[in-house]
Symmetry: C2
Subunit: 136 residues, 2 copies
């Protein structure tokens, strides 16, 4: 696996799957751009490292055991595209939705931009319809 | 642009945007695999060229003026990942939804597999929630 692919794989495992928010220091650039990501409340924003950590905390809270599984990855220059599946148990309320205690599953694709040693931003598409259908 | 990226760009333009279904002969391999594509009625199937053409006809029918715009593309070996936006006017009924005559917009990402001269399959994620919210 290339350095950039390894960086992404380790980032997903440590930060998003294990929830080690402070490990963002090792993976995320001082400024992180989010675009082409409908449904992400931070879409269109450039986040500082502190704001990024808050995004991880808020996003993980309803699904604290969440797990990303990478199905495919493609790299060119400073970009890595991945296809993934995701699942998590709905354990804390979302706006308009009371936690059900049930497992929710979805899939998505993300294009990460990196400097090789840090991730500087992403584009993303998530199958949000699958999530909404499983929240009730 | 590489040969594979050009192949994908021309395919989207000619087949999906312009609706020239018979041009699939120039772009699509004799067998085409669709997977990791929730919401596509043909997800999980391997299509012959004739079945693939039927898929294009059926998929385009509700939105005959549809247009894909490629926002980013990343290539490695025989794979090309693209991020895209899409819009089309809802002009023919879908199951459960009467045509509104309104423009619908969404976005997605696709990983295409190619032989260099033909496309052999794809993985895809579409923001289906955006579509459903605009159908009524």
């Amino acid at each position: 696996m290339s350095d950039a692919k390894e960086l992404i794989a380790e980032y997903l495992e440590v930060v998003w799957n294990d929830g080690d928010v402070n490990a963002c220091d090792r993976f995320i650039a001082p400024l992180y751009d989010i675009h082409h990501d409908p449904g992400d409340p931070w879409d269109g924003q450039t986040l500082t490292l502190d704001a990024f950590k808050e995004r991880v905390r808020v996003s993980r809270a309803p699904f604290p055991d969440q797990q990303f599984t990478v199905d495919a990855s493609i790299e060119e220059a400073n970009s890595v595209a991945i296809a993934w599946h995701w699942k998590g148990t709905f354990l804390a309320d979302l706006p308009g939705f009371t936690a059900t205690g049930k497992v929710v599953q979805t899939s998505g694709m993300t294009i990460y931009h990196t400097t090789g040693s840090r991730i500087t931003g992403h584009l993303q598409v998530v199958d949000r319809l699958a999530v909404v259908q499983q929240l009730r």
